[in-house]
């Protein structure tokens, strides 16, 4: 679905009230609350962040299937993208997953042996997969951009195969989380654990939608951008 995306002249506070899940994105951009009546443009000036880049992130996170038009993308400075993705990785690994894990372990402890063991095992496997996935990207994909600046045709081919790898893995990361939601909702007996189960499910769903946007940024914006930089190295 398409809506009218946000613009740089809108008040920052209005944007956040329109989509409060952007609150979770702000720290990753290095922006903090306390905007007063400032517009997005003014806030970005204050923090010395590229407003087009912030708009790109806000719109991707707020509108289903939003993708900037090719010319908008070409005129946007995408240098902050890799640092942003890295700080997202850090946020998922050090804040979201531990939060989910805390509630999951609590549920596992109270749900009886059979459910407990299965849940713990599933989540431990998932954590490993996420860690491996992020480590792979940070070691093999993100540096391509640096290399691209001093381009060689070898890295171009590498990036092509890398992009296939990326998109394949993302869908599994998101699928497994939605599976975990299904399992918790349908099969874990919830009679004594309402609060914990709710926290767990909200936590998973929030991470899940965040990861979907993250995957979109990597697959639809980062990878094509790497391809472009490798073809036409920056001066």
């Amino acid at each position: 679905m398409k809506h009218t995306p946000f613009t740089s002249r809108m008040k920052m506070a209005d944007i956040i009230s329109a989509n409060h899940s952007l609150l979770l994105v702000l720290p990753r951009l290095g922006i903090h609350l306390g905007f007063g009546e400032q517009s997005l443009q003014e806030v970005c000036n204050r923090y010395q962040i590229d407003v087009d880049f912030v708009l790109l992130i806000f719109n991707v996170y707020s509108f289903d299937n939003y993708l900037p038009a090719a010319d908008t993308l070409a005129s946007t400075n995408l240098e902050p993208l890799v640092p942003y993705l890295q700080s997202s990785h850090h946020y998922y690994l050090n804040e979201r997953l531990p939060h989910i894990k805390r509630h999951l372990l609590n549920v596992a402890t109270h749900a009886g042996d059979r459910y407990g063991t299965v849940l713990r095992q599933f989540f431990a496997d998932y954590e490993h997969e996420v860690q491996d996935h992020f480590a792979y990207e940070e070691e093999h994909i993100f540096p391509l951009l640096q290399e691209g600046v001093h381009s060689s045709s070898n890295t171009g081919r590498q990036s092509l195969s890398a992009s296939g790898h990326l998109s394949h893995n993302h869908s599994d990361l998101v699928d497994r989380l939605s599976d975990l939601t299904s399992i918790v909702l349908k099969y874990i007996p919830g009679d004594s654990l309402t609060e914990e189960l709710n926290e767990l499910v909200f936590g998973i769903m929030q991470l899940s939608s965040d990861l979907e946007k993250h995957a979109l940024l990597e697959e639809k914006i980062l990878i094509p951008y790497i391809g472009q930089v490798l073809k036409h190295p920056m001066p």
Partner: protein, 192 residues
């Protein structure tokens, strides 16, 4: 020939309403007298008017929207509620809707999209979510980490058939990943 879909539009703008009415054909839809606003007795009216499809501008719904939508569904469970959207609407507001019709939708797709919203409901009503014996067999092998090719060889069926079973399993259980299917199998005492 399929019966006509009773359509009720709740939308203040005459322009938008007339536009939608002109895009859908008379032999597929029966138009109920449209409403310009969201009346407080809408649930009761639904029970009387019996629409199959309610096309509703979400900005008209009085707060709390989720409760209102729940009351509408309760009044007429077989009806699909579709949001009619032409401005920014908070994503949470759209959660209770079956589907969203954006007015920027291509004109030729509108009727088809609306019809689909009703059909899938009727189909899912008489669909079984129990796994068949064959699907359970396939599930067990998937959960043990077998590839589709290995499963095809073991059960002496084509890969194509295995993939169809896998698709049905995912559709019925709502679980996509191998790890998730393994958990499903364990919780259903199919494996240890």
């Amino acid at each position: 020939m399929k019966p006509k879909t009773n359509l009720l539009i709740v939308e203040p703008s005459d322009i938008i309403r007339a536009g939608i009415e002109s895009l859908i054909s008379d032999d597929q839809f029966a138009l109920l007298a449209p409403l310009r606003d969201y009346p407080s007795d809408l649930p009761q009216r639904l029970a009387r008017l019996q629409p199959d499809l309610l096309l509703l501008n979400p900005t008209l719904i009085p707060s709390p929207a989720r409760m209102q939508l729940a009351a509408l569904t309760q009044a007429r469970p077989s009806m699909a509620i579709v949001a009619l959207v032409y401005q920014y609407v908070e994503p949470q507001m759209l959660e209770g809707f079956k589907a969203v019709l954006d007015i920027r939708e291509q004109g030729s797709h509108v009727a088809q999209k609306l019809r689909q919203c009703c059909q899938s409901d009727q189909e899912s009503a008489n669909e079984s979510y129990e796994l068949s014996d064959r699907e359970t067999e396939v599930l067990l092998l998937v959960a043990q980490g077998c590839s589709s090719k290995e499963i095809a060889d073991r059960l002496n069926i084509s890969i194509h058939t295995v993939n169809t079973h896998r698709k049905n399993i995912t559709h019925k259980t709502g679980i996509k990943s191998v790890a998730g299917l393994a958990v499903y199998a364990m919780l259903h005492n199919l494996i240890n």
